[in-house]
């Protein structure tokens, strides 16, 4: 009996472990193997080479990777700036209004991302909701702000706002009020309090929120396709193309591997730096 007891944890974890291994690790392994196959093969039984990585450099695929990472970084930074005051209010000021705000933000997640983005297209396009009405009433019109990099970043900020807002609010709620008051009492201005007290103590929330929005934004395609009209090609687009029209699985696999490597590395680094127990409400 005792021996079974000791193995109970392992046995309970076994079913989920098998599911994860088959659905998560196995595809990753296949991707990793394909990434070192010669170009345009459909079998893993070939002599490994690193031609895919050469192609990524020589044919400029790294540019779409840089676009994706760059736009993800910019949108994450903008989200941080936009969400901080809102999250602060939700954690410390709004009281019951926080619930209203939470419901309002969560409601947007019930509608498909693509439909919401098409809604923005109809709103922003020339002759759309804004420009159309205003031109009709005043005769003043303007060109559509769609189909460029800024509107893609706007789309990323819009779509991933909840993923920054809620972890941030959680993080800020962990900053003790008396620590802020004590800092003020000891002579710190509001900016110093923000810098010395709020930011470091809310760091777990900041890291989690930033990781979520960055990771999601770096792998996003809908914003560049729908709002951006493919003004720039993002990495996920390239991966999709390589696996479909391009018929070059090793190239797609190599691109995927690089993206997974960068994002996974960031996530592991970020999570290792923060106290996850604290944000989950567990005592140390």
């Amino acid at each position: 009996m005792e021996r079974i007891d000791r193995r109970l944890g392992f046995l309970s974890a076994l079913p989920l472990g098998v599911v994860l291994a088959l659905s998560f690790l196995a595809p990753m392994l296949v991707i990793a193997i394909f990434s070192v196959m010669p170009q345009k093969v459909f079998s893993v039984l070939n002599m490994p080479d690193f031609s895919s990585f050469g192609v990524i450099i020589s044919q400029g695929y790294y540019k779409s990777l840089l676009w994706s990472l760059g736009m993800a970084a910019v949108s994450t930074f903008m989200l941080l700036i936009i969400c901080w005051p809102l999250a602060y209010g939700m954690a410390k000021v709004f009281n019951r209004f926080t619930l209203v705000l939470t419901i309002a933000v969560v409601m947007t997640l019930f509608v498909s991302e693509n439909i919401r983005l098409f809604g923005w297209v109809l709103t922003l396009m020339k002759g759309g909701l804004f420009e159309g009405h205003i031109r009709h009433w005043t005769g003043i019109g303007w060109d559509s702000p769609l189909y460029n990099v800024s509107v893609i970043v706007f789309g990323l900020v819009y779509v991933y706002l909840p993923f920054m807002l809620f972890p941030l609010a959680q993080g800020i709620s962990m900053v003790p009020d008396d620590a802020r008051q004590a800092a003020a009492d000891l002579g710190a201005s509001r900016w110093r309090i923000l810098w010395e007290i709020d930011l470091p103590l809310a760091a777990p929330g900041i890291v989690i929120g930033s990781l979520l929005s960055f990771v999601l934004a770096a792998g996003a395609t809908a914003e560049s396709k729908i709002l951006g009209g493919q003004a720039v090609i993002v990495i996920s687009d390239d991966i999709e193309t390589a696996f479909t029209f391009g018929q070059n699985w090793p190239l797609g696999a190599a691109l995927s591997l690089i993206l997974i490597g960068i994002i996974g590395g960031l996530a592991i680094y970020g999570v290792s730096r923060v106290d996850l127990d604290a944000i989950m409400g567990r005592k140390r």
């Binding site: 003790p176 008396d178 620590a179 008051q181 004590a182 800092a183 003020a184 009492d185 000891l186 002579g187 710190a188 201005s189 110093r192 010395e196 007290i197 470091p200 103590l201 140390r284």
Partner: protein, 365 residues
């Protein structure tokens, strides 16, 4: 030292909606004194201290620091500082960084502020190895000292304390009370301390201000508050006490209402008389009441029956029933009275140990 007060409160009123927490507080704090504000919870003492450090705004009234108005100055620009009840140490910083925080804000160079932090660790009798310790590695008493060091690093004009010892166990509290008093003597700073504990106030303070329902009942040195309280509230708040309702009488000066007190001579000769018909309260502390052996006498004599005896460590407390009223007597263990419950006893106390409370109720406002 100038005789001008370092801090003057003039008609401080604080309202929260319909509720008036402070009804026009006036107080002068002398430079270098240790003033303790004592009151039960809800008396407004925490509200008052929050106004003084600038965490809340006064509804009306003026606060002047060395003659300069500061009631509209935000907390971070006031040269005062507070030790919080929760201590409010910064959990993400080391002990050293906590202590250096105010110096860092003031822009003191790194080496200077480290030197000052080490100096303060020494002042607070903490080993200098604590400099790199994490806050959550410190015990309750060590955290207290770190919070104090941080406040002293700020070098405030006045140091406020909001019941910082209330969460500690009894022995540690006793030790820190004495250390705080000692620290006050060594630094010469003005300390303003808030507590609900009379004992803390008695041990540490130069002056005690008793607060009740948003007003000061009495502000005086500890001995006076203890021996000559201005009201029944203060008398009862400051520990065990025997109170007798009395009225002025022509013949003996005083007449007790419910208990029979035999007065040896005329109370007027003892300075404890009331005008005939006027009400008052005669007060005597339990340690000044004696058990009278046959043949011995005192200025005031009450006959009673022993009810119970409690050992309080170094002292013994007796409860004596006199005409349905319970009187308290305290004796040192070495002066223990040998008697058992039910014994008839005579209690006596002298005029100089007694005090007459002439209470006038507050005007309504």
């Amino acid at each position: 030292m100038s005789t001008d007060p370092i801090l003057r409160l003039d008609g401080i009123v604080k309202r929260f909606g319909d509720f008036t927490a402070l009804h026009g507080i006036n107080l002068d704090i002398t430079e270098g004194e240790f003033l303790t504000i004592v009151g039960p919870s809800g008396s407004g003492k925490s509200t008052l201290i929050r106004l003084l450090v600038g965490m809340d705004e006064v509804t009306s009234g003026e606060i002047r620091l060395r003659g300069k108005r500061i009631d509209q100055t935000p907390a971070n620009e006031r040269p005062t500082c507070m030790v919080f009840q929760s201590l409010a140490l910064f959990p993400h910083m080391s002990v050293g960084q906590n202590i250096e925080f105010p110096l860092k804000i003031q822009g003191v160079p790194v080496t200077d502020r480290k030197a000052r932090a080490l100096e303060l660790l020494e002042t607070l009798r903490l080993p200098t190895s604590f400099y790199d310790k994490r806050i959550n590695q410190c015990s309750g008493g060590e955290k207290q000292r770190v919070a104090l060091a941080r406040a002293l690093a700020f070098d405030p004009e006045i140091l406020f304390f909001d019941e910082p010892l209330s969460a500690l166990d009894y022995r540690l509290r006793k030790t820190l009370e004495k250390e705080l008093k000692d620290l006050h003597n060594r630094t010469g700073k003005t300390f303003v301390y808030i507590t609900h504990s009379l004992e803390e106030a008695m041990v540490m303070s130069d002056r005690i201000a008793i607060m009740k329902e948003g007003r000061f009942e009495q502000i005086a040195v500890a001995d006076e508050i203890y021996g000559a309280p201005v009201s029944r509230f203060v008398a009862e708040f400051m520990g065990e006490v025997n109170l007798f309702d009395v009225t002025g009488a022509a013949k003996t000066g005083l007449e007790a209402q419910n208990v029979e007190i035999n007065i040896n001579g005329n109370a007027a000769d003892l300075g404890l008389a009331l005008n005939p018909g006027n009400p008052g309260t005669l007060m005597v502390r339990p340690e000044f009441v004696r058990f009278l052996p046959p043949g011995e006498t005192a200025d005031f004599i009450v006959a009673g029956k022993m009810h119970a005896e409690y050992a309080l460590g170094s002292r013994i407390q007796y409860e004596v029933e006199a005409a349905g009223k319970m009187l308290t007597v305290e004796k040192l263990r070495e002066d223990r009275f040998m008697g058992k419950p039910g014994d008839k006893v005579m209690l006596g106390f002298d005029g100089e140990a007694a005090h007459l409370i002439l209470e006038s109720p507050h005007g309504a406002d």
